[in-house]
């Protein structure tokens, strides 16, 4: 038997060419062993993309396997293009999140635009009509012109694609932190309502069934994007701009309509979108999932440029393309539908018995690989977990509030609390994101019940598009949110990840929705580094435990590793570990939901979960006001979490609660200010700091806390009801009204007194001011 050394020595490629495909020397030896020969250039490229983290999760698969993935409402879990949950009354919802981080770093507009296009294809490939988009975005500080350019480009790209394709962008989150400078995160989540009677799956079947290529043409754009996405960004990455695809949202809109129409004919056996690794990935995955093979002729593929070689066909990531397996004899029916929509559709191959992917080109065989070697039986790396927390974490945990300047009821040293609140509200991560969402059409399709900025989660009515039945009211809705406090995860990956899931569920509960299921997007640094792997492993454990505790299984997601930028000295800068959780929740009646803004003067304000411990550790107050990233994030208490969220949901459904807002970044004072700003109503409240410092009482963060408001004349009855729900774990804070936010101490002393108009203006304008006046 040949040794690894001799295998590499006899390879028809120099080592540099192998590693340029993202294949490590050991993996090359593995490839040769599987094929029983050396691969050719096209095959090498196919392995390169299919064995990338982006496609095969070689680093994360063992960690992902611990996620709970099934439940009574779960119709499709991980492994298909998207997860599907049952919302009752025959309504099935497909949803999924995906990243487009690396492309967006080098070409923000097209990178973000095609990220939206890609996630939408995952949804309608299943037979679902896309009904909503959300995004989770991360950028470096807006003080840096390069980050402003990335931010502006990403938002414009999402706006361009989402608006044109006609799917509302209804929510999301945006954070700014130097940890993302030069390596922004662009995670897009899409929701779709099943329109076909059967869920369309990806596994090919039926020997002799024709394989159809549909949609756009193939060109050289996006060559090797999956491998590109699975490597660190360097100064030279800018030269990889051809690796970023270019999107055509109008073509995608036509593709949505054509695909849904095609699926309804019953002539489609299986479908797979061409995302990362294009033709290679779609053929390999369809074959491997179906336990069959696919024989595909590249000469049949419609092209947009001439002279392409198999390597280019196979690795192209041209957008808006799909692969179908049709029932034999019904292919023309499908082709006619696509042609009517002005799209390409050709029979390019067939399903074969032998489980191989065979690629023909100009009369010869350009590649022939066992399907499972590409898509299923791929390498897995199990890594050593650090025995103890890394130095950065231990150092951060040693922090104590005693190191902060003294504070009192009147303020921080000589700085009044109103001024501290004002500057927190003007921190871009906390400030209004209206500059962003005003650029997204968030009302197209006419089902958006709560517009962005109105509540802790987006709410969309579920109205099948073709239904025009007069008199039948459509009252069901779906709520969705994306969340991740990455600073919390950085400072304690396990607790932080628990908190991410808890917060997502809490945000859904704040509109009155029942949390159902999760799609996750793991954005991390290199897992090959001990600290990176420690973060990844602990965060995955946290996500798994929290999803189990809250009964929200994971139905799929995306992994984006190697999110590090190398500076000119070659020093890697990792991003914060950012496991974004997208969560969907069921709403039985869209008339029984609330927003975050106070509703009327005289309403009583309550804090649910009032006994939850709070901490300044890992808080926005500590980061923004004291420039300190330290401490430990709040500990998640699931019993309290479940009780508080259930009380909030029940209170909304029973009509007690008129507004609800989760206490998250910036603590209680920021939450109150946001409810005031949203409702354009002031408030006067009393806060008892107990043994805490005043800054902890005002700005400390802790889970399981929700600020709600209730009609004044129902307060007494509500309190009795609340006591049944939560025992004594609630507090009456005060009353809505006036044009100021006033926070008093129990003895009547004023801790904070701020003019609402000033808070509102600073909060509303903070991002626009940075983008439009500083540039």
């Amino acid at each position: 038997m040949s040794t690894p050394e001799t295998v590499l020595e006899s390879a028809p490629f120099p080592i540099a060419e192998i590693t340029a495909e993202g294949i490590k020397p050991d993996e090359y030896v593995d490839i040769v062993n599987r094929l029983g020969r050396h691969p050719n250039k096209a095959e090498l490229g196919m392995f390169g993309v299919m064995w990338s983290e982006h496609c095969c999760y070689k680093n994360s698969r063992p960690l992902l396997s611990q996620f709970p993935t099934s439940g009574p409402r779960i119709l499709v879990g991980p492994g298909e293009n998207a997860g599907v949950v049952d919302l009752g009354d025959g309504l099935h919802l497909a949803f999924k999140i995906e990243s487009h981080n690396h492309p967006s770093a080098v070409e923000p507009f097209q990178g973000a635009a095609t990220g939206v296009g890609g996630i939408l294809r995952d949804i309608f490939t299943m037979g679902a009509r896309p009904i909503a988009i959300l995004n989770a975005l991360r950028f470096g500080s807006l003080d840096d012109a390069r980050n402003r350019r990335l931010f502006e480009g990403v938002v414009a790209g999402i706006s361009h694609y989402g608006n044109c394709v006609g799917v509302p962008t209804v929510g999301g989150e945006v954070y700014f932190d130097p940890a993302y400078s030069g390596n922004p995160l662009v995670n897009a989540m899409a929701l779709g309502l099943m329109e076909t009677p059967e869920i369309v799956k990806a596994g090919a079947y039926g020997i002799g069934n024709p394989v159809l290529y549909v949609g756009s043409t193939t060109g050289r754009d996006g060559m090797g994007g999956a491998s590109f996405a699975s490597a660190e960004l360097t100064d030279e990455s800018m030269d990889d701009r051809p690796a970023v695809q270019v999107g055509d949202p109008f073509l995608e809109k036509s593709l949505i309509e054509a695909c849904l129409e095609a699926f309804k004919t019953g002539a489609v056996a299986a479908a797979q979108d061409m995302g990362a690794a294009g033709i290679t990935c779609s053929t390999a995955e369809m074959a491997a999932k179906g336990g069959v093979g696919i024989d595909l002729d590249l000469d049949k593929i419609p092209v947009r440029e001439s002279g392409m070689v198999p390597y280019e066909y196979l690795l192209s990531e041209s957008q808006e393309r799909m692969l179908f397996v049709a029932h034999k004899g019904r292919e023309q029916e499908l082709i006619d539908i696509f042609h009517r929509w002005g799209l390409q559709a050709v029979v390019a191959g067939e399903v074969i018995e032998e489980s191989i992917v065979r690629i023909r080109f100009q009369g010869g065989i350009a590649a022939e690989i066992p399907a499972t070697a590409l898509a299923d039986n791929t390498p897995i790396y199990r890594r050593e977990l650090l025995a103890e927390a890394p130095a950065y974490a231990q150092q951060a945990w040693a922090w104590s509030p005693d190191s902060l300047p003294a504070c009192s009821v009147t303020g921080l040293a000589d700085r009044p609390w109103s001024e501290v609140l004002q500057s927190l509200l003007e921190t871009p991560s906390i400030a209004s994101k209206s500059w962003v969402y005003r650029q997204y059409d968030h009302q197209v399709q006419n089902n958006t019940v709560i517009v962005p900025g109105g509540a802790d989660a987006a709410v969309v009515r579920l109205r099948p598009q073709l239904a025009t039945d007069n008199g039948m009211p459509f009252t069901k809705g779906v709520a969705a949110t994306v969340d991740c406090n990455a600073r919390h995860v950085y400072l304690d990956p396990y607790q932080g990840a628990l908190g991410v899931v808890a917060e997502a569920a809490r945000n859904l509960s704040c509109v009155g929705a029942e949390p159902l299921a999760v799609t996750d997007n793991l954005n991390f640094g290199s897992p090959e580094k001990p600290v990176g792997y420690w973060q990844l492993a602990n965060a995955c454990q946290g996500l798994a435990d929290a999803c189990r505790e809250l009964g929200t299984p994971v139905t799929g997601g995306n992994v984006s590793l190697y999110n590090e930028t190398l500076d000119s000295e070659g020093k890697p800068q990792a991003i914060y570990p950012t496991p974004v959780v997208g969560m969907v929740g069921a709403i039985e009646d869209i008339n029984q939901i609330v927003g975050q803004g106070f509703q009327g003067a005289g309403d009583a304000i309550y804090l649910l979960g009032a006994q939850a411990p709070v901490t300044l550790g890992a808080s926005d107050y500590l980061a923004a006001i004291h420039n300190t990233i330290a401490g430990r994030p709040p500990v998640v208490e699931f019993d309290r979490e479940r009780a508080v969220q259930a009380a909030c949901r029940n209170g909304i459904r029973q009509g007690w609660i008129r507004s609800a807002h989760d206490c998250a970044e910036g603590g209680l004072a920021v939450t109150l200010a946001e409810s005031c700003i949203s409702g354009n109503l002031g408030a006067t409240v009393t806060i008892d700091p107990g043994s805490d410092r005043w800054d902890a009482a005002l700005f400390g963060e802790g889970g399981a806390r929700i600020v709600v408001s209730v009609a004044g004349d129902r307060a007494a009855a509500f309190e009795a009801w609340l006591t049944e729900q939560l025992g004594s774990d609630w507090a009456k804070l005060g009353i809505v009204g006036g044009d100021r936010l006033v926070i008093n101490a129990p003895d009547g002393a004023t801790a904070l007194d701020a003019v609402l108009a000033n808070l509102s203006e600073g909060w509303s304008e903070a991002i626009a001011r940075r983008m439009e006046r500083l540039v």
């Binding site: 608006n163 109008f250 650029q439 997204y440 059409d441 009302q443 197209v444 006419n446 019940v449 109205r463």
Partner: protein
């Protein structure tokens, strides 16, 4: 749009394929918002040449009601059925928001359900909604009372004379950038736009 006419108001409604040129069975035509052919060139510049649009022009000529909303308004100006043009928003960004829009006068077919001067809260969503016309045309449409909707207070896109919607001289063609159909369904919380559709429906039913 179809949901409002057919789902909410019960008016028989059919979608027209862009290559269909026989619209003779229709009593009124609505060109909804969207991105016709992607609008990669100038908004509405390609759509105006579609076979369906030739028939729309004939229908307008016959005096049938033609309503264009957002992209529909852009197409109507490109087709020459309405004067002026819609150009990039002043700040160059797409804008999606709810804004105050004043009904200028109570016009037959369209705004009889409102009082002159009434201010509506209507959704807008466009990147090229800045109404422009040369000074003579502007003066003419103002003098003729063709401006039916005007942004109240701040100008969201830099439109000349704060113009949000205009009709043709004859009064049977209306184009507007705000989306009344997104403010017509009580389940979504805003019905300020509903009266427009009710008036239009009543006019059609009584024909």
């Amino acid at each position: 749009m179809q949901w409002v006419f057919q789902g909410l108001l019960g008016l028989p409604t059919r979608m027209v394929w862009h290559q269909d040129s026989d619209l003779s069975d229709l009593d009124a035509i609505v060109i909804p918002g969207g991105f016709s052919y992607g609008d990669y060139l100038r908004c509405g510049a390609i759509a105006r040449f579609s076979p369906a649009m030739r028939s729309v022009m004939e229908a307008a000529e016959q005096g049938k009601p033609v309503l264009g909303v957002c992209n529909g308004f852009q197409i109507l100006t490109e087709a020459g059925l309405l004067p002026g043009a819609l150009i990039r928003n002043e700040n160059l960004h797409f804008v999606c928001d709810r804004v105050p829009v004043k009904v200028e006068r109570s016009a037959r077919l369209w705004t009889e359900g409102y009082a002159a001067g009434q201010v509506l809260n209507l959704p807008i969503a466009h990147g090229e909604g800045r109404y422009y016309a040369d000074p003579d045309t502007l003066k003419q449409i103002e003098d003729n009372g063709q401006v039916l909707f005007r942004y109240e207070g701040s100008n969201p896109n830099g439109s000349w004379n704060q113009i949000a919607g205009i009709c043709n001289d004859r009064g049977n063609v209306l184009g507007m950038m705000p989306h009344p159909e997104r403010a017509a369904d009580a389940a979504l919380g805003n019905t300020d736009g509903l009266a427009l559709f009710q008036v239009m429906t009543a006019a059609l039913v009584s024909v």
